[in-house]
Amino acid sequence: MSVMTTPPPVDAARPSTAAVPRTRALGWRGVLSHWPQYVAIAPFYVLFLVFGLFPIVFSIVLSFTDWDGMGEIRFAGLSQYIYLVQDSRFWNAVANTFIIWFLSTVPMLFLALVIAFLLHQNIRFRGFYRVAFFLPNVTSMVAMAIVFGSVFSDSFGLVNSALTALHVDSVPWLSSSLGIKVTIAVMVIWRFTGYNAIIYLAGLQSIPTDLYDAAKTDGASTWQIFTRVTIPMLRPIILFTVITSTVGGLSLFTEPQVLLGDAGGNGEAGMTIVLYQYNQAFTQFDFGYGSAIAWALFVLASVFAIINWRLLSERRDAPRRTGRKARS
């Protein structure tokens, strides 16, 4: 992230241009003379080649083949991708992923902002609250899925018992299409609100206090300070959390898998893109198709990365404008 936000450092270019002629002059001898250093950094690159780069490249190859993970690998041209664009189950998974992403990200970031704002005030037990809000993020998701499964259970769950006690009709949380998505979204919200709140808190602490003092002197109310000072100053931080939430949302897997199993629940209402990929590759042993799904996800993620990048590069000019223009 920090790589993307910071403008290209001018200084960084200088040492490299200076280094080029020297390396050229020494050539291979230059490399060899530094061999202990190369050996020292080699473990990371060797591991990355074997467990990072090779699988990535191999999955591109696989997406053009038909392979059950065991027998011979048959070249299949573009047929996996042609099947993919016509596969209603895949598009259902794409739609599910985006609905769950939207249902979770919007309330989560809003809640996180409010919590961060409150934690930033001078209240008692601040440290305790900060830890408490962050705890869900480090809790085992598998254990939590079981808890959520019991809480949202259709006929035996806490939520429905509470609804019945209030004389409201119980909701089929884990068997209706929307109920499943809401339950997964609630799990995501529960897990990541604290994490985002901590990031917002860091952002809040970096806002100079004289801005607040000036606003107060001008007679601004707390709400005005929040919307006119805090939010605009936090904009890069908010964009950062939107991006991380998008990455997390597009690769949503554990929550639906543990809550609903490999099939994605009733009518595949909880089938996300990554769960579908896992389902095809590791339960149907169709590795060619699984790889094609993975690369389709890559394309989708790239589209979002480009949108985010556009938003960020626009931000780079913002400090030159006046505050009012930046908001419009």
Binding site: L32, D66, M70, Y83, P172, L259, A263
Partner: protein, 430 residues
Amino acid sequence: MHPPTRRHVLRGLGLAGLAAGGLAACGSSPTISDDPDELVMWYWNRSASPKLLEQAAKNVPGTDRHVRADVIGTTFDTKLRTSLAGGAYIPDITYINSNNALYFRNEHQFLDMNDLGAAQHADDYYEWKWKLGITPEERFCFFPLDIGPTGFYYRQDVFEKAGLPTEPDEVSAAVSTWKEWIALGAELRKATGSALVNTAQSIYEQFLNASPERYLDAEDTPLYTAEGSAVREAWDTAVAAIDAHITAGIPDARGTDQNAAWSSGKTAGHVNASWWSQIIQESAPDSAGLWRLADQPVRPGNSGGSFAAIPHTCNDPEAAFAFIRWINTPDHQAEAYNDVQLFPSAPASYESGTMKYAGDFFGDQDPLAFFSHAAEQVPESFISTWESVVSGSFTLEITNVETAGKDPDRAWADAIAAAEKALRKRGVQR
């Protein structure tokens, strides 16, 4: 910053050579163990008797080998397939679950145990189980371990409250057809509000598990499109059960809910194999003693049960086969039942009288006699390697009918279309 000397370079090359040598060593030896007297076996928790494995760790009787048994955790198939595909770190003996048909496509990865003299032992095992181990090329690659004969579990106390027959014999007599079974469920629903089973899917699946015909034949021809196919009958039975409102609509993925339904009596029955009683005993111990077993309608089926296989890279196939046979003699299968409750695939295990059922899950009823009797009636069937590709479409759609109120005819048409599409994608159909 020293200039490189020849010694430096040589040392570097030596290191690279060592690394390459290490990698080559991995590639050249496909088996796991370097000990020539050791056979490595892969299995999962509770799929073999620890006591027998302890003996085999010292020596496999009749051979000069011993067995090192490695528990492979979850994703067993992925791990086994990966090592077979990579041609390295392959066990000498492997257990395979009831999804052994998945390996039919790659059956030559495993040795034909008929070449090792397996045929002479065939009479010791249920014939239908033995035949499940035979591949489409008529090779015998999968040796019978345990089986899962099925029955109709029911809550005696709930049946009594509903004024239904309560004794196993009476219940069995009252549900000799699925139609009668559904009618009984409807009565139960009316009298107590309890469902008979948790899912329509379980009815659909157990109907097929008790059917001689399944999804595809040995020539990969789909059978489900034919008029009056077994799949269609299973489907119609499940739909009739949904219409009669005897299912609770709690899918398998939600185990916690299912167990709550069973232990509270909101669901008063289940059709499944012998191993299921342990699951419910562990998750809903309060209901132990209230359950009884009746014959399921028409005939019992088989749900689950595993196999042993010898990968083609095995160090010593004779010894590996000697081990598989030794751990599966009727006597040893009886011991395995007493140890880890694996239901024997050898009828003589039960007849020997050494098998002991511990617990009071079924009151005074003897589950061993029940399931042994059921095992004798399981029909022979062929499970196609493509079954796992198509079956999901049908179970998904029957659940849609059950929980989303989808029109059964449309659901059936969608299931067929999805199955055909999946088969075409895998190159099975034109």
